[in-house]
Amino acid sequence: MTTLPPALSDWFATKGWTLHPHQQDMLAKADDPATLLIAPTGGGKTLAGFLPTLAELGPNPPPGLHTLYVSPLKALTADIRRNLRTPIEGAGLAIRVEDRTGDTSYTQRRRQRADPPHILLTTPESLALLLSYEDAPRIFAGLQRVIVDELHALAESKRGDQLALQLARLQSLNPNLRRIGLSATVENPPALARFLAPQTTILEADPGPDPDISMLETEAPPPWSGGGGRYAIPAILNEVSRHKTTLIFHNTRAQCEIFFHDLWLANTGDLPIGIHHGSLSREQRERVEQAMTAGALRAVVCTGSLDLGIDWGDVDLVIQVGAPKNVKRLVQRIGRANHRYNAPSKALLVPANRFEVVECQAALDAVRAHTLDGEPRGPGPKDVLCQHLLATACAGPFDADQLYAEVTTAGPYALLTKQEFDACLDFVATGGYALKAYDRWQRLKHTNGTWHLRDPRAAALIRQNLGTIIDTDLLKVRLRNQGAPLGEVEEDFAASLTPGDTFLIGGQVVRYEALRELTVEVSRTPGRDPKVAVFSGTKFSTSTLLTDRILQIFQQDRWPDLPAHTAWWLAKQREVSRLPDPASLLLESFPHDGREHLVVYGFAGRNAQQTLGLLLTKQMESQGLAPLGFVATDYATLIWGLDPVTDPAPLFDLATLRDGLETWLSGNAVMKRTFRNTAIISGLIERSHQGRRKTGRQATFSSDILYDTLRRYDPDHLLLKITREEALRGLIDFSRIEQLLARVGPNIDLIRLDRVTPLAAPLFFEPGRIPVEGAGRDRLAATQAQALMEAAGLA
């Protein structure tokens, strides 16, 4: 067993700290090649991860990098640095701890490369950059340990796939490297263990007592539709005033903004409340984080940007506004409250509308029954591998066979074939086109048995493009004539604004004035109704676990567990139409606002419902029904167009759906968006960098053109294959459509109504409407053009 340096043990003793059993276990397992610790929040998980490091380094360690700590959040690295400093300085250990993220200054980063600290805290993106330098082998020469925090969160995204490849790289540089993964409760620990390393010891800490969780009771019932939970503000303020510190989670940034604005208007008691989400400027987020740590805030309205294990002080209540979508995430969020080990966390769910009341009830039932949702993630994506190959070439020449062997030690790529690897290498080196046009200008050349960059100067460009997070292009928002940015909005949103439009940012209503030098200039306009900002938060599909439970709840004769208003609403739906059930697929058709509408209650989760929207509108287009667009939620798809659907059965023929998937997939907006992400990650197109966009008179042309070109001239190209794989498992989620149709068989029931039904109403308020480009839109465009010309007196 590894023991702590006496100075540290003594310091713990003077503080009256004793190690938790799982912290002692971590010391006992210090020599294992890989250890996964699963522990609830507040269990001293992070310290447990660092104990073996502190024990090995001792009071006076020699210089050199010993431990690398990787976390998904920049804020987390800063937080951990502060937390580690306390015992290290308290015990007088001469251990240097530094963080390195995108926010670290250039000089600091240079110095860290020349003289690395003992413990370096970083993110997967910064690590990718470090590993791409020629001196990576020197920087990581003495590396003994790597600690991956919030592994459960990383493992769900491409950032985790990238990290898995980096761990393999680090292991090659240091065969004796030991890995530690820290995770919240997950449904499948062995799968996560394999993600971390080929041979991993699993340690599960005591999960602690069950959380104290319930639905918030409000005087006013939730609205029929919409999101945001504004109706609950008085009740939420009341809860905030009764607790020390409350975290108020929202699912999207837009809802977070609107809620904060309204909360502030209602906050007559002047409770100090802050807002925190990913679209706010760093300065603003840091201010809130500092105030939070100092205990100066009573509540923070936030999104997933506060989801992960940052120690935000003494949080004693978590409020989730809006349906949680996923039980596992809910449980992890609840864990944010009450950081004292072995004390129950307290949480309240606030459904944003009556439908969400049902989903919240389903989630409560699931939490109480200790069931967690989780769908297996499938093999590692190849666009991430392509980027890794480019990054590896930046660091120096590599041997393809050796690199292939290394890549397959990474969990997500364990089943990658040599052929698949070679296809990725060919793409990276030559473009992988059927037309071999780039013999002279290959990116990678093969000489003397190794692959290397043809033009070493290309490394700088490749490094700028590293990372797997694809942001939509964001523009800073500033008050006219004032320096400090208020936050950022998506370029698409900015493009949709005309001077005079108002929107919400940082909790205030602002008026759009002009777009200048990639900055949105605004002025303050208190008291005006905002035009809602369409920040798109991360969209998670409601899990199968939850949708199944919701359908079960619908089958009850009465709903004694649900609030009376919601029970009444469901009864009303049953009266005017029908409630969806597991044995059939309910469709409703009705006219509304001059358009025909079709609602498909598939309960297949947002992504599959979106795919259904794509497939169905395509069919409707060929039937001449002139569909104009659709919007999908986790439980239904709403399609609008110029003509009504009367015979739905042919639309849902599985064989036709599957046969047509290939053609349907090709031309639609979802595929183009997937292609764009894949093209950026794999290095085909560059991220738009603000500097470059400034100098370029014209913005880069759209990736849609590349997509169309490849489809036309090179339909078997690797990137189209990757896009298809990505779309099928992520955004397309066709398997859930197949499950749905298998479940309902021939029972597809269309009900024709003369107006919107209670269950359909919320769909009209959903963001993320997807236009269908077809005859209907041509008809509309011609009408609009005519109207504009007439208005201008030109026709």
């Binding site: 037309l435 990116r443 460009l461 560059e686 070109t709 001239y713 465009a781």
Partner: protein, 215 residues
């Protein structure tokens, strides 16, 4: 379907492809082909884009020539992404281009990307006067009856952004004809300053539609 524009006493057809056809003179004008763009990016150590844009652009030009029966062709500059791209053009594309040029009065106007003569036949000029019009690459604010390119204008209608022609009483600006060409929204001050208040944007696409220039 084209859009017919009456401009300085002449009828001009604005084609869905972004080309301009002047029936009275059997003249076709196209701008900003940017042939060889993917090759130039690769040569400079950048990314390897699908190397098909020259083929796609020539196919489009072939169709327009065939369809209009044009006898005179004016390329309004930036026909090649740079001079080396003009020299390095693949043999198949070069032969194709030569075939298209055969028997036609073909003028290459120099642009900022291809500021010198190109070894490919045709005549090379800084600008071309063909009464009543002046054809040049970049619009000159004081001139009239001018037809130019350079800006790659774009505009949106019904939520879709498309390359467009811009027209007012004094000038006509063509959209970029090449495939890998970005665009400048008509809102940009460069364009709103250049074009008169009553300017029209004529959007390319299967159906050519004219709208007041979005600004």
């Amino acid at each position: 379907m084209h859009h017919a524009l009456f401009f300085h006493g002449e009828t001009l057809h604005l084609l869905p492809s972004g080309a301009l056809f002047w029936p009275a003179r059997k003249t076709l004008a196209v701008s900003d082909l940017h042939l060889g763009k993917s090759e130039r990016l690769a040569r400079r150590g950048g990314t390897l884009l699908p190397p098909y844009e020259t083929q796609a652009t020539l196919e489009k030009l072939d169709r327009d020539l065939d369809h209009t029966g044009a006898e005179t062709v004016i390329c309004l500059g930036d026909s090649f992404d740079d001079l080396a791209a003009a020299e390095g053009i693949e043999e198949a594309a070069r032969l194709w281009l030569i075939r298209l040029m055969a028997g036609k009065d073909w003028t290459w106007i120099t642009g900022n990307h291809d500021p010198g003569p190109i070894e490919i036949g045709g005549s090379h000029r800084a600008e071309l006067k063909l009464r009543p019009f002046t054809f040049r690459h970049i619009a000159e604010p004081q001139d009239r009856a001018e037809i130019s390119g350079h800006y790659h204008p774009k505009a949106s209608l019904a939520g879709q952004s498309k390359p467009c022609f811009l027209a007012d009483a004094a000038r006509l600006i063509l959209p970029a004809y090449g495939l890998y060409t970005g665009g400048l929204r008509s809102h940009d001050t460069t364009l709103t300053t250049l074009m008169a208040k009553d300017a029209l944007a004529i959007l390319t696409g299967p159906r050519v539609l004219a709208i007041p220039m979005p600004r």
